[in-house]
Subunit: 334 residues, 2 copies
DNA sequence: CCCCGTAATGCACACGTGTGCATAACATCA
DNA sequence: TGATGTTATGCACACGTGTGCATTACGGGG
């Protein structure tokens, strides 16, 4: 139904070849013919079919972006970064969510492959290690952002969890805290292990003892309010003055639980989060947290994709975090 | 480079026609041939090319989704709703952002048309009225979600701003407030007018006077903290006991300004927002707000698209809001 | 033995675009 | 005038898939 170059050719009394060349500015076509055809195309409302071009060029200028879910506040800005770079480079982005389900993650990748995307970007992948083997079958470069799985994979961009966590814990130590807890999360095994490692490194560097009883692991199924209360219960028994949390949602849940129980933050308990989601700024007290450059992560991933498609060598990248000091941390009361 | 049906045909010693039929389960192909070819396709890692199929079928099973920006907390869940329904129906979604720039909105729609998407969904469009005329050129149905522009357009899904605002103001009236302010926003003209209309209707229904000096319009360029302080200044001069705000960000800005100035919320000033963004739950006090069913809006829009593509008649839809009563509202102090 | 019906498969084209090569018209030069 | 070069255009094919129609083989019935 849309106008094709054949329609224009018929209207202009030339072959479709000439139309194609005129529109692309081929030098062999006379200036007047080119002008006439372009004007005609304009009038008839011609838009070239990217589908046909893709088929011929064996390249779609399209990438697939797999996210966990739009409900995850982390994801959103990453999408923004990817889309921004993609749009600038003339690429279009397919978006689809895996809902944290490995089967759906495979299905989504499969769909993208059917669509013949030039590359795939996956956030928080649960099966990063699988791609290496699958990649022989599908000839599509896959870049992983904050891959959650150990093992072999090809390309990845990730935030420096260790450095970020270290930053947060150092801040607490500098404030004078000595008994500092770590509140983890079990359903993000890789980054949890790294952030905990950053916590431990900071403690060791400061000459503080590592007490395993100060590592807390709330049940991931419960919502953040329940988890906050459960964790707070344990924390109070351990007599810590500050905690570093795996992420902001965990930290906020804990902070709200403190409010319920009448525990003053930061006077009685200092809390540091990780991620710097929007809500971190709005809660009371505003949350001190490790800022994760989400937009930049997305940008870097897409830039890596462009490099790959240009045939350049690429290396895995990690990007540093910085600390946002707000109101949830203070020196310990004595 | 990927495996095609011709490759399979060569390997099986048949024509590509037979392969195509075998894979699609055509009855004319013998059972054993079908089995043999399917097994071969499996082994060779064949994935049909959606590009080639699209070209032939003149249909891509693809839709384009235009959002303002991923930084807008409203947008995200809408994307989730659209994507959920699309994925279930076997459609893929192109995502692109307009950054609230009409020129880019046009460019994005143009790109989608080049990609031959079957339909386009636009959130918070700035040029809804333009589509009607452009639609003659591009033969693609466009569904607008919460269109921000007056004028003619074809299909739309929108939240019932009037009903939602009425709900929020009624709540304040029922609590006993009589001098109630409205804090608007000028860069969303259509929905702002409607929400204000809901405010006025609720006031009239309760027999309360409409005082134009209780309508506040902060400068949209400033960030929410500045706007909060500026608005609060005016509010305090007017002696109101409660305000209904155009959206949650405005309400939160105001609430934070109150905290700075030592104005107790809700004891001295009750605040109602609109949208129910994530942060509304986390702020202190938690914000009473009109919940906007964002995910559902996305779902409805995509379902409307599916109806359109099935050749069914569709009608514009509005969807009702409900009130989330939290901690930022209370009876007026006397 | 011939005709016809049925089963299984292939040929050729279509979808919209781009490109190598051939073709045609015309100018230039020896 | 004939050979060569230049300019402008068209033919035919390719990309991967699906389908109408033709073709082939075979079996059964008269």
């Amino acid at each position: 139904m849309p106008v094709t170059i054949k329609d224009i050719a018929k209207a202009a009394g030339v072959s479709h070849t000439t139309v194609s060349r005129a529109l692309r500015g081929h030098s062999a076509i006379s200036a007047e013919t080119t002008a006439r055809i372009r004007k005609l195309a304009q009038e008839m409302g011609y838009t070239p079919s990217a589908v046909a071009q893709s088929l011929l060029a064996q390249r779609t200028r399209t990438i697939g972006l797999v996210i966990t879910t739009t409900a995850d506040p982390f994801t959103v800005q990453v999408v923004g970064g990817v889309e921004y770079v993609a749009q600038t480079a003339g690429y279009s982005v397919f978006l689809s969510s895996s809902h944290n389900d490995p089967d759906r993650e495979i299905a989504v990748v499969e769909t993208f492959h059917r669509r013949r995307v030039d590359a795939i970007i996956v956030t928080s992948s649960r099966l990063g290690s699988l791609y290496k083997s699958r990649l022989d079958k599908i000839q599509v470069p896959i870049v992983l952002i904050n891959n959650q799985e150990e093992g072999e994979y090809l390309y990845s961009v990730a935030v420096d969890d260790v450095q970020g966590a270290q930053l947060g814990v150092q801040h607490l130590i500098e404030l004078g805290h000595r008994r500092i807890g770590y509140v983890g999360l079990t359903n993000r095994p890789k980054s949890n292990r790294r952030r905990r490692q950053g916590y431990e490194t900071a403690m060791k560097n400061a000459g503080l003892p590592l007490d395993p009883s100060l590592i807390f692991s709330p049940i991931p199924d419960h919502d953040i309010f329940e988890r906050g209360h459960e964790t707070l219960e344990q924390i109070l028994q351990r007599n810590v003055t500050a905690v570093f949390c795996y992420n902001d949602l965990t930290a906020i849940g804990l902070s709200l639980a403190c409010r319920d129980r009448g525990i003053a933050v930061p006077e009685r308990l200092s809390i540091v989060g990780f991620d710097d989601i929007d809500a971190a700024m709005y809660v009371t007290p505003p949350l001190t947290t490790v800022h994760q450059p989400r937009f930049e992560l997305g940008q870097l991933a897409m830039e890596m994709v462009l490099d790959l498609l240009n045939g350049q060598e690429v290396q895995d990248k990690t990007v540093a975090c910085h600390l946002e000091v707000r109101g949830s941390t203070a020196p310990p009361a004595h």
